[in-house]
């Protein structure tokens, strides 16, 4: 009888301890601590592009949004820009929009960059790092694939091949 009780007590205590340890380990290694993760709603933002037009993410509901964070000094960003530009010309008629957010450089540098590559999609400057903070962007380039419902479908850090860019745009086509 008493022995049975003791076994139950031990089991309960061990389970409690296991739960506490398990939670800590789980929340540390298996829960994405990023503010924005796949499946969550992409944080809304408003930015003005180089031509002075305001873009609000939530206005693009119904369209797929290819959101790219970049900087002129970032060589991998430079490499993938022409790919994005080429695929954009294909997919813009199929409901995919590209929003390229520069991480707070001068308008001059950004304009030069846009002219150099002949970028046709809207490019905007995140002057106060607000959008970068909201998306917790750490390394460049970072690309967020947002579907027609405003949900994040994928997060890509690092440079992409043209084939990949195409695949990603295809995946968020409404």
């Amino acid at each position: 009888m008493k022995k049975q009780q003791r076994l139950v007590m031990r089991t309960v205590i061990l389970l409690l301890l296991l739960a506490a340890v398990g939670y800590t380990i789980y929340s540390n290694f298996f829960v994405d601590k990023a503010k924005v993760k796949v499946g969550s709603t992409a944080p809304d933002f408003v930015l003005t592009d180089l031509s002075g037009k305001q873009h609000r993410l939530s206005d693009y509901r119904g369209k797929g949004v290819f959101l790219n964070f970049w900087g002129t000094w970032c060589k991998p960003c430079e490499k993938e820009m022409p790919y994005i530009n080429r695929q954009y010309s294909v997919y813009k008629n199929q409901g995919v929009e590209v929003l390229a957010v520069n991480v707070g450089e001068t308008k001059l540098s950004v304009q030069n960059f846009v002219d150099r590559f002949g970028l046709t999609f809207p490019v905007m400057i995140d002057r106060e790092d607000q959008v970068m903070n909201a998306y917790d962007v750490d390394r460049l380039p970072a690309t967020y694939l947002i579907d027609k419902n405003g949900k994040v479908k994928g997060i890509i850090t690092g440079t992409m091949t043209e084939e990949k860019v195409k695949q990603y745009m295809e995946s968020i086509k409404p």
Binding site: K2, K3, R6, L7, R10, T11, I13, L14, L17, A20, V21, Y23, T24, I25, S27, N28, F29, P43, D44, F45, V46, L47, R56, G71, T72, W73, K75, V103, G104, E105, T106, K107, L108, S109, Q111, N112, M124, D126, E128, D129, Q130, V131, N133, A134
Partner: protein, 553 residues
């Protein structure tokens, strides 16, 4: 159930060293000279029942040896973690995977692969800490419950074998035992002993409370660990870095866009000769004037964002307060604290150039370029104009030999100017970097002569919010109470018993035997009772071959 029944009639759990009630040594323990009084001889049950997997796990964590081993392993791992720098101290923009191998070779690679690069974040380190926590809980439970039981059930009348095998023991013959008992009782009561009597025998006890010290201490530790665990719960703990230039207003990271901060001014002061109190003069002379930092300060204005929070939108700000952040004097608001931790002085802010005729040295006006908001074109009047074709805030030549920028920070600004003058309507191109001018299309008539640099300071602040701090505080206080409880009180017991017309005196304490001996000496003074012999010391002396002393030292 394998219970052991003592001759006094008390039923003891299996594994008990001596009877809970009368103290008669049981089983093999009957052979040794002195009794092992640890945990009152109670049965540590984990060592006895070992049938199911649960019992086996329990027994593993119940072992103090295992606990100590876990602590030692954690210690060694922590020490190894200090050999190479932790990941957070690496230079920015390097990949840790490559960095460790590049810098430290195969050892560095191993270091990285085993997770020493981010020790507190590595799964096995966390598992070690967690195991220490589990070990603490189980070790304590397994000992405190039997100990409590044993102390609660102890009888007054003890078996002669128990008394004889206490460390302090004496046998006396007295004329009037009743009178002696009465005297001793009075004296013990004076010394605040708690006295129990049974069949004319006495058990005097005090400071039992001290025995719970280690367990109280462990409870504190466990609360502390729970507090540390809660840091991983979202919203409980924020620790961010904010670099902010003078004059800038920026969102405070970690506040989800709710608060903004403006840096009005960064101040760095040193102890300077002639400006300080005279008592500092000798010290200033020794290290030199202006060599010792006196103050790091950022004058800030805290703003709260009003209205809905949409990232990127020009925020509507409401001023909350102005504050001077100094080292150890953080700006505190809404559980957030902003600490002064770092600074960078004299970051280029604005650069001035004169458009100049290279031969005559005549100037046609000055261009001031804001390095964060350069304009594409600067008109100097009278047909003189400068266009800014390219701007590299952190200039270097990339692998292909093209001018490029390393970052967006204006550490080393460089420009490509196109200079227009009435006699050069098509313009001349000039590449200008610090102490460097390149004229890509041959000899120019005009040049952009550097004429001034305006700099500003950058403050490095830490943003902190910690809701676990009070839990850590409570844990720490309980920890300390436990330590004090166990350190400054001793659990002392004195048995006085009539055995075959003699008076037997035995005593035990969990620490400070010297104090107990002194106390006994005072208690039995003038009663005719013999001072107990310290049998442990006798044994030691006998082992060393020393001379055996008499009973009363």
């Amino acid at each position: 159930m394998e219970h052991v029944k003592c001759e006094c009639g008390h039923v003891n759990p299996h594994g008990t060293v001596f009877c809970e009630s009368c103290g008669k040594p049981l089983g093999e323990n009957a052979e040794k000279k002195l009794l092992d009084m640890r945990y009152e001889g109670s049965a540590r049950r984990s060592q006895t029942y070992n049938k199911t997997i649960i019992d086996k796990i329990w027994a593993f964590f119940s072992s103090v040896k295992v606990g100590v081993a876990l602590i030692v392993i954690t210690l060694i791992a922590s020490a190894i973690g200090t050999i190479f720098p932790q990941e957070m101290y690496l230079p920015p923009n390097v990949s840790p995977a490559e960095y460790y191998e590049d810098q430290y070779g195969w050892l560095g690679k191993l270091y990285y692969q085993l997770g020493f690069n981010d020790l507190y974040g590595s799964w096995w380190y966390m598992l070690l800490i967690a195991s220490i926590g589990v070990s603490l809980v189980i070790c304590s439970l397994d000992r405190v419950i039997p100990l409590y039981r044993a102390l609660k059930r102890q009888g007054v009348t003890r078996h002669p074998n128990f008394l004889r095998r206490q460390r302090l023991f004496s046998v006396s013959k007295v004329a009037d035992a009743d009178d002696v008992f009465k005297q001793v009782k009075e004296k013990l009561a004076q010394r605040r002993y708690h006295i129990r009597e049974e069949n004319g025998n006495i058990l005097a006890e005090k400071g039992r409370f001290s025995r719970w010290g280690p367990y109280v201490n462990h409870i504190g530790l466990i609360i502390f660990l729970i507090g540390a665990m809660l840091r991983f719960v979202p919203g409980m703990y924020v620790d961010e870095v904010l670099w902010i230039r003078e004059g800038e207003t920026k969102e405070i990271p970690g506040t989800n866009g709710k608060y903004f901060l403006k840096n009005e001014k960064f101040i760095f002061e040193t102890y300077e000769k002639g400006k300080e109190n005279e008592v500092f003069n000798a010290a200033i002379d020794r290290v030199g004037s202006g060599m010792v930092a006196k103050n790091y300060q950022t004058n800030v204005v805290l703003y709260q964002r009003v209205g809905p929070i949409i990232a990127g939108e020009e925020p509507k700000l409401k001023k909350v307060k102005e504050y001077k952040i100094r080292v150890n004097e953080p700006l505190k608001y809404d559980h957030y604290a902003l600490y002064q931790v770092d600074f960078k002085q004299n970051e280029p802010y604005k650069m001035a150039f004169q458009l100049m005729d290279k031969t005559s040295g005549k100037s046609f006006g000055t261009v001031v370029i804001d390095l964060h908001h350069p304009k594409p074109s600067y008109d100097l009047g009278n047909g003189y104009r400068v266009e800014l074709l390219s701007y590299f805030p952190d200039f270097y030549f990339d692998d292909d030999g093209n001018p490029s920028t390393k970052s967006k920070v204006p550490n080393n600004p460089a420009f490509v100017f196109k200079m227009f003058a009435p006699d050069k309507p098509k313009g001349e191109v000039s590449f200008v970097a610090i102490r460097q001018t390149i004229e890509p299309f041959g000899n120019n008539k005009y040049k952009m002569a550097f004429s001034g640099l305006e700099t500003r300071n950058v403050s490095g602040l830490t943003v902190r919010r910690d809701f676990t701090l009070w839990i850590l505080g409570v844990g720490g206080v309980i920890f300390m109470i436990g330590v004090i409880q166990g350190m400054y009180w001793n659990h002392r017991r004195i048995w006085l018993q009539r055995v075959n017309g003699e008076v037997w005196l035995a005593a035990h304490t969990n620490k400070n035997w010297f104090g107990l001996k002194n106390e006994i000496r005072r208690v039995i003074e003038g009663t005719g009772l013999a001072m107990p012999i310290d049998q442990a010391e006798e044994e030691k002396k006998a082992a060393q071959g020393g001379q055996v002393h008499g009973a009363t030292e």
